[in-house]
């Protein structure tokens, strides 16, 4: 990410004045094993990762490489077997409304309207404040006019927009995205990528984004954490220097893509 990001005001709790370059998330020597009948399954092995404030980081890897497990550990839904995760210098003890998940299966509530879903994290605020914030983010994700609709009545892409608006409404420092576009058709996926990028450039929160799609990672991330499976390890961390919007036709993009395919151990020359 470029240093231009510092035009955005930093969150009040950010200790450092150089907010855009302060370290937000520190993952140290994280191992995760699951006990099986006779042995142990090593899901994550010696994972170390620093994520800067306002950075967009993609975790890229094949199924079973532990990238979702790593995200769940950083997000507080799961505990590491050994090792530590700190956010803002505090050890992670559980999920926190300042750090919000967007799931592949949306996770929005089918029994509540679009408006009520987006208002979930604001339930303790005064009504007028709720209205101001919810209406703002519903408009930001392009769902104006669908406030009273129920999730069953809208498309998959719109559901994921609701989940994004619900996350943004609490002004989180970090958004965790676990293959958020995985359930969408390929065209909707492309437009949602552009939307997420636009929102991130506007709000500049830290985003940790899990995907197995090389193009998705290349189009979105400041840095790509390439993971390899069995046991899940970080194979390499690849910085992406290209500025947004990224031109997928350039030689630089093609080279980066080749490099990622190589790291993932697959050839794309069919």
């Amino acid at each position: 990410m470029s240093s231009k990001a510092s035009v955005q005001p930093s969150p009040p709790h950010a200790a450092s004045s150089a907010a855009a370059t302060a370290t937000k998330i520190v993952v140290r020597a994280v191992n995760k094993t699951f006990a099986r009948k006779n042995d142990e399954l090593v899901v994550l092995q010696d994972v170390n990762l620093d994520v800067a404030e306002g950075e967009f980081v993609c975790l890229l890897g094949p199924s079973g490489c532990g990238k979702s497990t790593l995200l769940n550990i950083i997000g507080g839904f799961d505990a590491p077997t050994t090792g530590t995760v700190e956010i803002d210098g505090e050890p992670v003890r559980g999920p926190n409304p300042r750090r919000v998940f967007v799931f592949q299966e949306y996770g929005i509530f089918p029994w509540a309207s679009v408006w009520d879903n987006v208002a979930l994290g604001l339930r303790d605020r005064p009504k007028d404040e709720q209205h101001r914030i919810v209406d703002h983010y519903i408009e930001l994700v392009g769902l104006k006019g669908f406030e009273r609709a129920y999730p069953a009545e809208i498309s998959g892409g719109m559901k994921q927009r609701v989940a994004v608006a619900r996350a943004l409404a609490v002004s989180p420092d970090v958004i965790f995205m676990d293959e958020p576009l995985g359930a969408l058709d390929s065209l909707t996926r492309l437009s949602m990528r552009a939307e997420i990028l636009r929102i991130w450039q506007q709000e500049r929160m830290t985003i940790l984004f899990v995907t197995h799609d090389v193009d998705e990672a290349l189009q979105l991330a400041d840095r790509i954490v390439v993971m390899s499976p069995r046991p899940g390890r970080i194979a390499e961390i690849v910085p992406v220097e290209m500025s947004h919007p990224r031109d997928v036709g350039t030689a630089e993009y093609g080279d980066a893509k080749n490099r990622l395919y190589e790291l993932l151990g697959v050839s794309h020359q069919f």
Partner: protein, 307 residues
């Protein structure tokens, strides 16, 4: 021998053919009407076929009927309808079901929510529930009469008992099948304790709770008849028993029909709950289900995936 059943059967056949050629909403209206008319005609014909003449000892012939015809049933119901007995008994039965069912729901839903959510509560309660559940409510009738006497409370107790188990098991299953992603979302946004139950656990399980309520009400309506045959002296079950004791089988069958029709009404009432915005997501529309079914048929009936 009467001619009208054959006319009705012919008309029903015409209606069925017509329903095939007319578009919506006609089949939905015509098909059940045609089937019901054919049923009544078939009922009458069966009665005629089964009736026979018996030569008695004094040499005279006697006409023996094993089952009242539709017309005889109607005539047999004339008096209970006109003097208000039928209405009074129907109200008595519905009232007992309403009270017993409400008591059961008020107990079973909280217990089901708790046992569905907390693993320890589930482990503690579930085996007991599963052991009590297969005992037919009918088997409790002697104890109910012993405890409550031949009174309303006896029938209410049996209804509550019959309704409790379907509701509690349905609620437990509903809570246990809540997708993890809803619970995680709720925890992520700081919902906990009572608020987590009110905003997520209860609404997420609600469609299945409604289904279990519907099943329980159907069972309760079946059990009330049995309970009223023994444990009280009013109600539709009592009407059947009373008519039987008077060898008035026209009225026995008439009461059975009344029970069936009221059962349809109760079920229809329960189903209206499924149309609320908060639970509609759990009930795919009928048209949708029909469309899926049509697609399955269009692609060749049962598709073997294991081959």
């Amino acid at each position: 021998m009467s001619l009208w059943p054959y006319v009705v059967l012919t008309l029903a056949a015409v209606v069925f053919v017509l329903a095939r050629h007319l578009g919506d909403p006609w089949p939905k209206v015509l098909l059940p009407v045609g089937t019901a008319a054919a049923f009544v005609a078939g009922w009458h014909l069966t009665c005629e076929w089964l009736a026979y003449d018996l030569k008695q000892l004094d040499g005279t012939m006697r006409h023996i009927e094993l089952f009242p015809t539709p017309y005889q049933t109607l005539v047999g119901m004339e008096r209970p309808i006109v003097d208000g007995t039928l209405l009074r008994y129907a109200v008595a039965s519905v009232y007992r079901v309403a009270v017993g069912f409400t008591i059961a729901a008020l107990l079973a839903i909280p217990i089901g929510l708790l046992a569905g959510w907390h693993l320890r509560a589930f482990q503690a309660i579930n085996p007991l529930i599963q052991a009590l559940r297969p005992i037919s409510p009918i088997a409790w009738i002697p104890l109910a009469v012993l405890w409550f006497g031949v009174k309303d409370s006896s029938a209410v107790f049996l209804i509550a008992l019959a309704s409790f188990f379907p509701i509690v098991t349905g609620t437990i299953a509903g809570v246990r099948s809540i997708p993890l992603v809803y619970v995680r979302s709720a925890q992520n946004f700081g919902l906990e304790g009572f608020e987590l139950f009110r905003r997520v656990v209860l609404p997420a399980a609600m469609p299945q709770i409604l289904i279990s309520l519907r099943i329980a009400l159907g069972i309760a309506w079946m059990v009330i008849v049995a309970a009223e045959m023994i444990a009280v002296d009013s109600g539709l079950g009592y009407l059947i028993m009373d008519a039987r004791n008077a060898s008035n089988y026209d009225r026995v069958v008439g009461a059975m029909i009344a029970i069936g029709l009221i059962g349809v009404g109760l079920d229809y009432g329960m189903r209206q709950l499924e149309t609320f915005d908060e639970v509609r997501w759990g009930f795919p529309k009928e048209s949708e289900a029909v469309r899926n079914w049509n697609i399955r048929v269009a692609i060749g009936g049962s598709v073997r995936l294991d081959k």
